[in-house]
């Protein structure tokens, strides 16, 4: 596979392992730290080390797994650990894990002593096709997602599909939703290809295509002033549903499950507020429901969902802004939508 170059860093696929080795052997760094969570330190670190000829010249920093640990307390602990381990400005941090680790590790590295280099080694499908690409770092505060963070590009993103072999099915499906999104907003043939594929064994070339799409979009608009907003397709409603489910359901939706619901609702909005056709909506709804479990969006949650959408950080001047499909494979952004239409898109989902 090729190497994609974006505004300041490179995205490396398996065959570019050599570039990673060279960087680590260059003696450019005074110290190397690997940040992993309790799972990835056990499951992924051995593979990572073996790929790098039993690489062992690093200090391991291990955190607890899960979104609830992507918080400021863990950051403070890790900043202090870096200091205790005498990390200086020439130190390197390698974030080995899912999006929680790459988001939080990126934030920690981009602010420790005003910024040290970091490399992302994403080990979940979601982080390979989404979280580790594009320079967004962040942590949650009081359960408000990514309330604090920076835009900082990693030195390198190393994507190795072998990590995915140990990933639970539900996690694979969660990441796969972002791949579907890339097709829906940017590349209809890719969307059709995914429809014919098996999400349980994501093909390296599909992961590559997703990374390529995301990279293309964020390189054009790194700070989400315009085009990058199309990556939020499905996420305005999806995030609200995800937040509600997290607070209320015993077995909450994954991010992918939630944005899959968002795809359907926002595709429904797209036929009212953009140019998507009813046939395209039916196709999308049908495909999504063939993959993702049907969820019931409770009537009594509608007000809360609406409030959650209003507090979405992508809004400006209090208006809820949507990214909507013009057609399968093309997305527009900054669309204002009436409250009635938003609520009826939730009804539409429930009616399926």
């Amino acid at each position: 596979m090729e190497t994609l170059t974006s505004a300041g860093h490179s995205l490396y696929f398996e065959s570019n392992l050599d570039a990673l080795k060279t960087l680590l052997e260059s003696n450019k760094y005074s110290k190397v730290f690997v940040l992993a969570d309790e799972h990835t330190s056990e499951i992924c670190l051995p593979l990572f080390q073996s790929l790098l000829d039993d690489f062992s010249e690093f200090d391991l920093i291990e955190t607890s797994a899960g979104e609830e640990n992507k918080n400021i307390d863990f950051c403070i602990g890790i900043w202090k650990t870096l200091l205790d381990f005498e990390a200086d400005r020439k130190s390197l941090m390698i974030n080995l894990g899912g999006g929680v680790i790459t988001d939080m590790g990126g934030f920690i590295a981009s602010t420790y002593k005003r910024g040290i280099d970091f490399i992302n080694v994403p080990t979940t499908l979601l982080s390979q096709v989404d979280a580790s690409v594009g320079g967004k770092t962040g942590i949650d505060i009081d359960n408000v997602k990514n309330m604090v963070g920076t835009f900082t590009l990693p030195q390198m993103v190393f994507i190795e599909t072998a990590f995915l072999k140990t990933l639970p099915e539900r996690e694979l499906l969660s990441g796969f939703a972002e791949m579907i999104k890339h097709g829906l907003i940017y590349d209809k043939p890719y969307y059709e290809k995914l429809k014919a594929s098996n999400y349980l064994i994501p093909a390296a070339e599909d992961i590559y295509r997703s990374v390529e799409i995301k990279n293309e979009v964020v390189t054009i608009d790194p700070h989400e002033k315009n085009l990058r907003k199309i990556l939020n397709f499905g996420h305005t409603i999806g995030h609200a549903v995800e937040g509600y489910s997290l607070a209320n359901d015993e077995n909450p939706l994954t991010h992918g499950e939630a944005i899959a619901i968002g795809f359907i609702c926002e595709a429904a909005l797209s036929i009212k507020n953009s140019t998507l056709t009813k046939e395209e909506l039916n196709d999308i709804s049908g495909y999504i429901l063939s993959l993702y479990p049907k969820y019931h969006i409770k009537k009594e949650s509608f007000d809360t969902l609406f409030e959650l959408m209003q507090s979405d950080k992508k809004n400006e001047d209090g208006n809820i802004l949507f990214s909507l499909l013009e057609k399968t494979g093309k997305c527009t952004f900054n669309c204002r939508v009436s409250t009635a239409n938003i609520l009826s898109s939730l009804d539409y989902y429930n009616s399926l």
Copy 2:
């Protein structure tokens, strides 16, 4: 006075008040927040508002005054306040205060929702000639100074010398040390001019010259890879003495008093490890001691001071690196110095 333009922002002096007014009236911002400490909200805010024709379209966020409050707990509180007040990505933060406010406010703004615009309105001499210029933001963790921060340029720096009228003498003297530093490292005639001036009434044109020097240096090297290090002259030993004094003295040294000691010690190092002459050292020591109270560096503190220097964030690979004077008005950086020379420079100071 003129407007200095650097890599991405402008530094405005009094006469450019109009530019600030225009920015605030442009309706570019959804909300404006003023961050001030308990003193500046009382002493400086009224003047700031009156300069801006009784500007009142903002929410005030007030913090406690003092370095001990430049910490992560205050950041968390202010991030949450911003969220409660519905600050979005198009909000503006105005940091009105000394270096504590501009450093912490800059860090908060540069990370809230991955970064919102901010303006620095420095109200101490130190923050006018140093802290508010150059894009370094930061907070302390466990009393480790600026352990966490970012490099982010404010949208604008508005410098108004009228704020200085209420500043205590000791604070004026503290900021004046940075001005002396600018002369010592970059501009001998300016140093001579300062020697003939009255620090109690700092001239706007001298403040302007200091800002110009700092701005020139940081524009060449924003991320302190090389030239910017000359701004650390006096600070390697100065920071150690400052930290020691803070932990041990009843009435601790100010930053300026501490780096003034650093100037003398590092000038002494400069005659051994660089090309400064004995006559120049005598001149510097004499001038500094005519302004700043003599301090006694206790013999039993030498070990602690040395450890503090070793943990300085400017070091690489465990080596203590100094910025030393080649002559009055010219500084070099990345100088290694023997432990013996460091210790004898402390003895030299004590012997004066």
